[in-house]
Symmetry: C2
Subunit: 215 residues, 2 copies
Amino acid sequence: MAEVKVVEKIMGANEQIAAQNRRLLDERGIVTVNLMASPGAGKTSLIMRTIEALRDRLRIGAIEGDTASRVDADRVATAGVPVVQINTGGGCHLDAPMVRYALDRLPLDEIDLLLIENVGNLVCPAGFALGEHVRVLIASVPEGDDKPYKYPGMFSSVDAVVINKTDLLPYLEFDVPAFRQLIAGLNPEARIFEVSCTTGEGVGVWAEWLARMCS
Amino acid sequence: MAEVKVVEKIMGANEQIAAQNRRLLDERGIVTVNLMASPGAGKTSLIMRTIEALRDRLRIGAIEGDTASRVDADRVATAGVPVVQINTGGGCHLDAPMVRYALDRLPLDEIDLLLIENVGNLVCPAGFALGEHVRVLIASVPEGDDKPYKYPGMFSSVDAVVINKTDLLPYLEFDVPAFRQLIAGLNPEARIFEVSCTTGEGVGVWAEWLARMCS
């Protein structure tokens, strides 16, 4: 009888550490969101609005990722929540070891909802699990309604898409129904929210969705 | 006497092929521009406006890079210029071999100015030479005026920054002088242009700068 070799899937280093992060977060009961988007789509603004909407009901923490600088963490810190800045040193995405490092520096016993802002990039972050429970893409109206064609990997990998900067719709050619249809074609399960972090419109519906996951 | 080992810099595969591309382009007298930007900053729109502005004086060709789809190439083709679409298959930047492949498919004897649209990404494309003569970053106003802090690698690596979507300035908090100063701090040699591809404002100055390089 011929020898049978069993080859098991060996998890890569990032996936292993992501799984450890996930276990740690589960143990502490911290719902964790990986926020991904192009540069300038409004990741930090959505974090600020979410804190504002939920701070009376949930204890929120944040991890800010950027290739350089601490401007986002400084901004989030003004809301009085614990925040750690990760600088990737030019790297194009966060990875699970970076998040692990940040988790070790956060007061996990005092956090119900952890918002992770990834590096601004519609390509690379899609491929790296961090240990999060929910993956969210923020797509801003000025970027145009053709982005799902060009970044299908990102659009098909997320649990929700937040269409941001809807206050600019009057000044731009952006077809919201067509955009929703494109997303649905790639990712029928994805929840879609429409918000303006400038006016606050639509933030409530998004925040309720997050809050329900924490209850 | 101790042995002295001389270690020469060995060019990586990408740099070698970029140098070959550059020689080929120099031989044909084709000025080549690598256009980099976030998703939706207006790379294709700037290419369309540049063709419109210069088509009577220069023969233009284009290479369109995206992770997926051919929508940009189809759009550029409507202007009647030769264009090749490169799909990176999820890859986050163009590289020199991809451009070499595209060059082999373009009528190089009929091109004076070659516009290469890189994958929408403010991180990875900065690290990969394509053989281009000029590196340009398009920064759109809705992305916010803090981007040089967060993507210093990109802002410091380019010959010019095109500030696009200036028609949206009345609706946004974007401090143009502060943004120019940030760029100048990182990259004092960079030329800075202000344009609106929607209204056409400022496109002439940008196009003249390109045209002078081709003469």
